[in-house]
Assembly symmetry: C2
Homo-oligomer: 266 residues x 2
């Protein structure tokens, strides 16, 4: 059974809106995802929303119907409301007509099975939610085991990061940790730590990567701290033929990750 909400001041609508802010996401352990494509990826990954919001008085897309059925079957709640309220929730001029609230699902460092994949992506102090989401999307594409966020990164469950991930937030494991804890965990098992850096002449194609490879990318503006670079098994860089000295962080991660994948599939 759907519940109908007609007013902006309804407590559920207020709660939905609050999930755009990190502090409320942390408190609740829930986050927002928008749009049929991302919610379908979630369903395919076995994730159903605790709360689903759809537009009233419209015929749902067959995929949206499946999501609604799965939500009900798993004990979630379905709300229907006006386009105007959804637009307000979404904050976009061209809002998505379906929104889900999901439990966040961060993976503890101790629960990572590093043998599950040949490639792991590691980002340090990443600031841009679009970059973070794009790195998750790339991680899914190259079959990475997951994304490990070191130090003070932007929230992977922010609306912008979830949107940029195009659903990979539901298929990739996400772990937040400190540099010290990450390094201690890494050195307790197999794993080659590769840093992308300007402070090296080593070409990224001159190295034979060994599984599991942990690809470490630094903050968008500063890159990796020098003391982090010293802990890497190797530093590499992509050829830069122009005036600029660096690539966008999500682009650098993808070019590196495809090189590791390409070596493995040869």
């Amino acid at each position: 059974m759907r519940r109908q909400i007609t007013g902006f001041s309804n407590p559920t609508i207020k709660r939905l809106k609050s999930l755009r802010e990190k502090k409320y996401r942390k408190r609740e352990g829930h986050f927002l995802a928008e749009g049929l494509r991302i919610l379908t990826e979630a369903l395919d990954a076995g994730k159903t929303p605790k709360l689903l919001v759809v537009v009233e008085d419209t015929q749902l897309h067959p995929l949206a119907q499946k999501i609604e059925e799965a939500t009900v079957a798993s004990g979630g709640e379905v709300i229907e409301t006006s386009e105007a309220i959804i637009a307000k929730l979404s904050g976009k001029s061209n809002p998505q007509s379906i929104i889900g609230i999901y439990e966040d699902h961060a993976t503890a460092l101790a629960d990572i099975d590093r043998t599950a994949s040949n490639i792991w992506l590691v980002a340090q102090s990443l600031r841009d939610p679009g970059n973070l989401g794009t790195i998750l999307r790339t991680g899914d594409a190259v079959g990475a085991g997951g994304l490990i966020l070191v130090d003070d990164c932007v929230d992977p469950f922010s609306v912008e990061a979830v949107r940029a991930s195009m659903g990979a937030i539901f298929t990739q494991s996400v772990t937040s940790t400190s540099w010290g804890d990450f390094l201690e965990w890494l050195r307790r098992g197999d794993g080659q730590l590769i840093g992308t850096s300007l402070n090296t002449d080593a070409d990224y194609q001159a190295i034979r990567y060994q599984a599991p490879t942990f690809l470490l990318v630094g903050n968008e503006a500063q890159g990796l701290p020098a003391e982090y670079e010293q802990e890497c098994d190797a530093l590499v860089k992509m050829p830069m033929m122009g005036k600029a000295d660096s690539l966008n962080a999500a682009v650098a991660t993808a070019v590196m990750a495809y090189e590791v994948l390409n070596q493995a599939r040869k």
Copy 2:
């Protein structure tokens, strides 16, 4: 000599603000760039601002001093104003303290020298300014000849695109054209047109790219129209090991462009 502006309602401040909108950029033929890093890239590329805005009563960074000197030497105007006004202009909570207004510099299709580079990037109906700027930045990195924008793409001179380009807007040529005009121009000379597509089984590493290679990437949501794909000399795709079927447009362009570069440098 600097001119001091103290009021929000000053016509020059209003004009600066108006350049955040495409319609005023088109009318004036000027665009805004913000931040020392990007303005330094501009200077290195031989571009000086028509108008430079700096914060009053502060010691300029040596690089900013160089930009100010070059602005004056080339007949441009320098304005100093308060941090509050710059913050208002920038629309960011943590504004850059230096802003330049530059002449836009689109390159006509007829003026492109395709022999100038082995790689050209072509984007069709690209919607996201961050993607467009990131593709420019990648183009600089791989030594591309420039970016050709086909059909209705987002404005490359928007503040967001300029920011994401990290200065590559000043080093890469940018051309806006229609699909018909592009194709006619392309077929008048050498050039291999490679489309990235889901509608092929051809692996992007299985093809030997021939210079000049024109890498064509489609709209973020729709990809390339079928009739555009038919005009390509080859369609290729990157391996997708996960649940998702596509990469971010800027990421896909970068992975492709580095493959073309890597083949050329072997």
